[in-house]
Symmetry: C3
Subunit: 329 residues, 3 copies
């Protein structure tokens, strides 16, 4: 299934330096500690240097500063993790799928499905849907009325696209992802809530990845927007009319409240909560478990995640904080 | 698809004041900044007043204090957001569905399904289920043994009702919602865990909305209860034997631990965590990302979400807090 | 459906003390306050002692210190909750299922499915899958290429196993659980992200329970591992290459970042966030809504969840904390 390449071929194909025998054969990737001959490993984090000493890998991808320490052959690049990503993609290509519609899928006659696309077992494709070239609609996916999926995108399995949402090209959506459910919009009335129809949609750009069980709500009036190259981990909630700028990465369990705009190239740590109606600048980093409750106008790193300590010490810290207030009054 | 109404008709139907020409036609809603002629917009938050100046909407819904500023026709009400909700519902009604059972659905002969209900493609309806009048069971939904769904409720798609759960009338459940999975109950025994059977069920009242990928566990012995008019956003976890009082609204990513009772008309912000076995009074507001670790006996607003600041400043704040403890000992 | 046992039989079968008439019949469990005759209840938490006074249960399971207070018959054990778990399992056994493959399921000819296993309506079993004896694959589950499920495990409904994942024996996976989606791995490159193929898998041990909508990512190179007896609640996110030690229990809404190792018999409270590349010792307790941002080397209890107070007081506490920094500079 996997390819099999010589070190020399890999060095030429990806423009890497080579230390060692160019004819050595590589057929798969492995970690430094669990590698067997025929595998290539990588050293991106110096803390794993010790494990390199005893590796059984045939070769290691590393930065020029570590070549001298490497007991086996090496491919050399200033960004070894990027080079690793490319070699791993070559050695472990995505599984090919058969084009065509599985007989158990339920597909509307008014859907337009590219001949090179695959629609898997027990998928549902409703009226007016458009599925692009080489798209894979995995088993159990539900693509509702008028939704569109751009070329080369993958809905892995059990993905749910609500009516009218728009997915770009080369996107990957993981199992349980829901795009286009109603935003959380209710008008208060005499102690009860009156539903506000959510008439906007969702537009997802190209090269976006959406993790398992992540949810992206449709807009209240205008659309919710996820720009090109955004990477969303699992279990993220994106509220209605959020805009996420291009190439921003969001780690797992983040919640982004409605009508907030996040800039480009931001990195949002796991478990972060972001309030609604805010604007966050480009190139902002928010560390894990922080609460963003006001707009952020400058690039930089922001935090409010409180590190755990022994519970007894923690209780005293909380008590001190409360006491400060008593003192100052 | 949408209706088309004159401003005068809308004013009469909803009891609104009117400024401008009653014969103007309205066919859809729009935001102030993206409106085109034929659309009605609204001004509920004064911060969007500037956008009203240049709106191309045919009319704007607003409070009496803003009529003088409005460059186009206006419908006037002290609660313009509520009036907007009603007009939007009129202009953008829910899609109609065909009654009947899709041939690909798997429906038990012992299920009782109202003639006016719709069961969509690849839905599963098990033994003894009862589906009320005009209910829509969307594609891929699984309704397990003996579950009941009240009249006019909608399971949008891929909703999962475990055996015996009870859903009221006019509810909306979004994709990926799971009602009635086992609560998290285990008895410790010699360093391992022994499962405690979860024999209660879940009762959901009328007019409840449940967001995408939200989970509500069945009770350990008695039932988990969600009362009338409760609104739950996406990605919420409701533990076993929780009781959520009528008309309480819970934003996304909230976790409510087992056996906690929340009062009526509460508002729980996004990302809040609520410990188990607590009681929270009626009319309590908890702001986003707070931890409720003790019962709340008085109505009011409660918080512990720490606002993010620059990471360098945050590190110093955490160090100061730790130092307080050293000083005072 | 349920069994019906005498108190005497229960006492003998589970080695419990008995106070009262051994011929009394028990057919179900109930809470102290809602019991009817024929039910057995339990007292594990002294705060419910008052409710025991007026219970209509036929018998109560309790510790020896409470026998004198009990107005009805009693079964006596130092660990009444454990005894309750066993009696409840006897009285309320899991529903039996019919072995065999439902005609609407889509099952590959190359899958090996034990004759005693059940494959429910609209399940998908892909090529090379192995399903053990007495396994239940519930409705709408998707088991992808080469995945394996050990004997006596249950996939309740709409569970998603990605290719090649391995589930042990006697596991329970709840609706919406996703095992084996890609980990969140991207190499930065010129302001964009290059996907790193996730070529590892997931190995789940025996007697593991996985809650509704919980996600466990496949490893980047080596496998993600969940050891024997681990209990995971709903809505948990487990990153790639995490290792969770045997008999650890994790409450709802927890996020565990990639490459972190958690010890055995830990208890992780709801809403906790755990950073990546950490090591947590055996027998660690982390209380709810804490952030674990550094390795924990000693058993013990750790916290950083800040308890909510009135919002006005909270704002002052945050201001004081910020002011400390100004003072000390």
């Amino acid at each position: 299934m996997q390819g099999d390449f010589s070190l020399g071929e890999l060095a030429v194909r990806f423009g890497l330096g080579l230390s060692g025998e160019p004819d050595l054969r590589i057929s798969r990737v492995a970690t430094l500690s669990n590698a067997e001959p025929g595998a290539i490993s990588f050293l991106a984090n110096p803390r794993y240097r010790k494990q390199m000493q005893s590796t059984r890998a045939t070769a290691v991808l590393l930065g020029p500063e570590h070549v001298a320490d490497c007991p086996v052959a090496a491919l050399i690049d200033p960004n070894p993790y990027l080079a690793y990503a490319r070699i791993a993609t070559l050695l472990h290509p995505a599984t090919e799928f058969a084009a065509g519609i599985h007989p158990s899928a339920v597909v509307s006659g008014s859907a337009r499905i590219a001949a090179s696309a695959g629609v898997s077992a027990l998928a549902v494709i409703e009226d007016g849907v458009q599925i692009g070239e080489r798209v894979l609609v995995g088993p159990g996916c539900i693509v509702q009325k008028g939704a569109q999926v751009g070329a080369d995108s993958v809905l892995t399995a059990r993905v749910n696209l609500y009516p009218g949402v728009w997915i770009g090209q080369r996107c990957i959506l993981h199992a349980g992802a829901v795009v286009g459910a109603d935003g959380f919009g209710f008008a208060p009335h005499a102690g009860t809530w009156v539903k506000v129809p959510q008439v906007g949609s969702v537009r997802i750009g190209d090269d976006v990845e959406i993790g398992a069980n992540t949810t992206i709500d449709r807009g209240a009036i205008d659309d919710t927007v996820v720009e090109h190259g955004v990477k969303l981990d699992n279990q993220i909630q994106v509220g209605h009319n959020v805009i996420i700028g291009a190439h921003t990465a969001v780690a797992g369990c983040v919640g982004i409240s409605g009508s907030t705009t996040i800039g480009q190239r931001c990195m949002i740590g796991g478990g972060v909560g972001i309030a609604g109606h805010l604007t966050i600048a480009d190139d902002v980093v928010v560390t894990g478990c922080s609460l963003v409750s006001a707009s952020i106008k400058q690039a930089g790193s922001y935090s409010s995640g409180m590190p755990a300590v022994e519970t007894r010490l923690w209780r005293r810290m909380v008590a001190h904080l409360r006491r400060l207030d008593v003192k100052e009054r």
